[in-house]
């Protein structure tokens, strides 16, 4: 079954309450997201999901030279960064979009839906 990455985004600067307006709203979003995750598991869509520490805790590593070069901070310099994600299995994009809409409501943010490669598409890429 096709796999999709559902990504949620948050501010680059660490904010109080994880970027939510208040502690109560943050806790409510966590609860709603938990309920959504349970539903993904129950209906057989769940592969993996988790939230990330703020982007300024990231380290970017370039291992292409003899010794790895490290940069303090995320790979992309943008105002918003990946804050959490789901990896799901869904029959097609319509199903994935419907789930993303639920996830978006739960976590109170916009969600990007992006398909993973499949065995077929990797094969086609190899031979392109």
């Amino acid at each position: 079954m096709p796999r999709y990455l559902l990504s949620g985004f948050g501010p680059a600067e660490p904010a109080s309450f994880g970027g939510y307006p208040s502690q109560a709203e943050m806790l409510q979003a966590f609860d709603d997201t938990g309920v959504f995750n349970d539903r993904l598991v129950r209906d057989g869509h769940f592969v993996f999901a988790d939230g990330l520490q703020p982007a300024d805790t990231a380290t970017t590593v370039d291992g292409q030279a003899d010794s790895p070069v490290m940069t303090d901070g995320p790979y992309l310099e943008t105002k918003e960064h990946l804050a959490g994600f789901w990896v799901i299995e869904a029959a097609d994009l319509d199903v994935a979009i419907a789930l993303a809409a639920e996830g978006s409501r739960a976590c109170r943010g916009r969600v990007e839906v992006r398909p993973f490669h499949t065995a077929d598409s990797i094969q086609a890429l190899r031979e392109s």
Binding site: A91, L93, D94, P115, Q123
Partner: protein, 414 residues
């Protein structure tokens, strides 16, 4: 049969069979690219063979057989190289045969895939014209004043996204059909509008686009004969397009509805549009859902179509219809058109009272300034009218409209 006859048959068969051919192949092989290539190759073979061999008794069947063979050949060639080794399973048609009936599911599926909401509007339009309409990339590029390479990339990218993101080649369920149908109708209406009043370029009207939109509207009507909005959109397009020959004068200037020679309206298209509007009125009276925006717009145009002159128009009826439209579609554009009806009934001041607050939201829209200029002229506020005409001229890219507005501005009594 002369070669000319064969050409004519080929053109007709292409119009009639292209969408079905692509749709059947797409369902069978699960690949829009392959379906498009194989359909194109089958038509090329027909162009080569029919002039000598004669037109087959069942051209659609001949093309389906030829195209399936082309598709299988292509899959075999690719599977020799190892690509799509798994596609071999598609060689047997395991999908159940489509139920025969008024609804041709394959073509409807194709329409819904091309107008999928996950695709950008311009991609939906291009894909619909190519895969459902059968226009060439060159024709679509010319119609939208885009380079051929850019248009080809737009279509290729859309097809690649459909494949990579697994946009399903299935019909949405009944509820989703209604929801998604709005997007499909929007694609068709956008194609129509671009042809009805081209946004830019040397040609004020692009009949190839209005014709194609009407053809798509007819196809949807065949596929969804009971849907009110499908009927409404077709009626709206027919009633509007009926005025085509009267809309531009010999000097290339746009002629407004009020000034058009109504004798030049196409009586056949008007009759067909009115029949559809009456059918919907009867259906709604018999309990069908309340009319949506396309049915209401069609009804408004039906009032115009049955008036012998602008002065004889039942503006009260038009205002009532705009009031209902405003409830369904409370957009500033509807309010703009409603203001014109208000003016006809109660004079320019009442129209202007409605229009003035819209300037803030529709300042970049040429039709707002054109309508406002007209009302200001009628209210005797010539200087303000001149400014509004100038603003409309600057905003529209349509040469016929520019010519009309410039003349109106020059005629102002100042």
């Amino acid at each position: 049969m002369t070669p000319g006859d064969v050409d004519e048959v080929l053109a007709r068969v292409h119009r009639e069979e292209w969408a079905r051919l692509v749709a059947v192949l797409a369902r069978r092989f699960g690949d829009l690219d392959l379906a498009e290539d194989a359909a194109g190759a089958a038509f090329l073979e027909a162009v080569r063979r029919w002039p000598n061999d004669g037109v087959p008794a069942n051209p659609g069947g001949w093309l389906t057989t030829a195209a399936s063979r082309k598709a299988i050949d292509q899959l075999r060639r690719e599977s020799v190289r190892g690509v799509k080794y798994q596609a071999a399973h598609m060689l047997d048609d395991r999908t159940p045969p489509e139920p025969t009936g008024p609804v041709d599911d394959d073509r409807l599926r194709l329409v819904f895939v091309c107008a999928h909401p996950a695709l950008a509007m311009e991609a939906r339009v291009a894909l619909t014209l190519r895969l459902v309409g059968g226009l060439t990339v060159k024709e679509i590029a010319r119609a939208f004043l885009v380079g051929e390479t850019a248009m080809a990339q737009r279509i290729t990218r859309a097809k690649a996204k459909i494949k990579a993101a697994h946009i399903p080649y299935t019909l949405p369920d009944a509820d989703a059909v209604r929801e998604r149908l709005g997007g499909v109708l929007a694609v068709v209406f956008l194609i129509f509008n671009e042809g009805y009043l081209a946004g830019a370029g040397d040609d004020p009207l692009r009949p190839e686009l209005t014709d194609e939109a009407i053809r798509l509207g007819r196809l949807l009507r065949t596929l969804l004969p009971d849907d009110g909005e499908v009927a409404g959109l077709l009626a709206l397009m027919l009633l509007t397009d009926a005025r085509r020959d009267a809309r531009v004068d010999p000097s290339g200037e746009l002629v407004t509805l009020a000034e058009q020679d109504r004798g030049r309206w196409d009586p056949g298209q008007i009759a067909e549009g009115l029949t559809l509007v009456r059918e919907r009125l009867a259906a709604v009276a018999a309990g069908a859902p309340a009319p949506g925006r396309y049915q209401l717009l069609a009804a408004i145009n039906a009032v115009h179509a049955t008036a012998s002159s602008a002065a004889d128009t039942d503006w009260g009826q038009i205002l009532t219809l705009y009031d209902r439209l405003l409830k369904v579609d409370p957009s500033p554009i509807v309010r703009l058109n409603r203001a014109v009806a208000l003016t006809e009934l109660y004079g320019p001041d009442s129209g202007l009272r409605e229009l003035d607050p819209l300037v803030a939201v529709l300042d970049g829209y040429h039709a707002l300034h054109a309508a406002r200029a007209e009302l200001l002229r009628r209210a005797g506020r010539s200087d303000e009218a001149a400014t509004a005409y100038s603003r409309a001229i600057a905003l529209t890219g349509n040469p016929a409209e520019q010519a009309y507005l410039a003349r109106r501005r020059a005629e102002l009594d100042r």
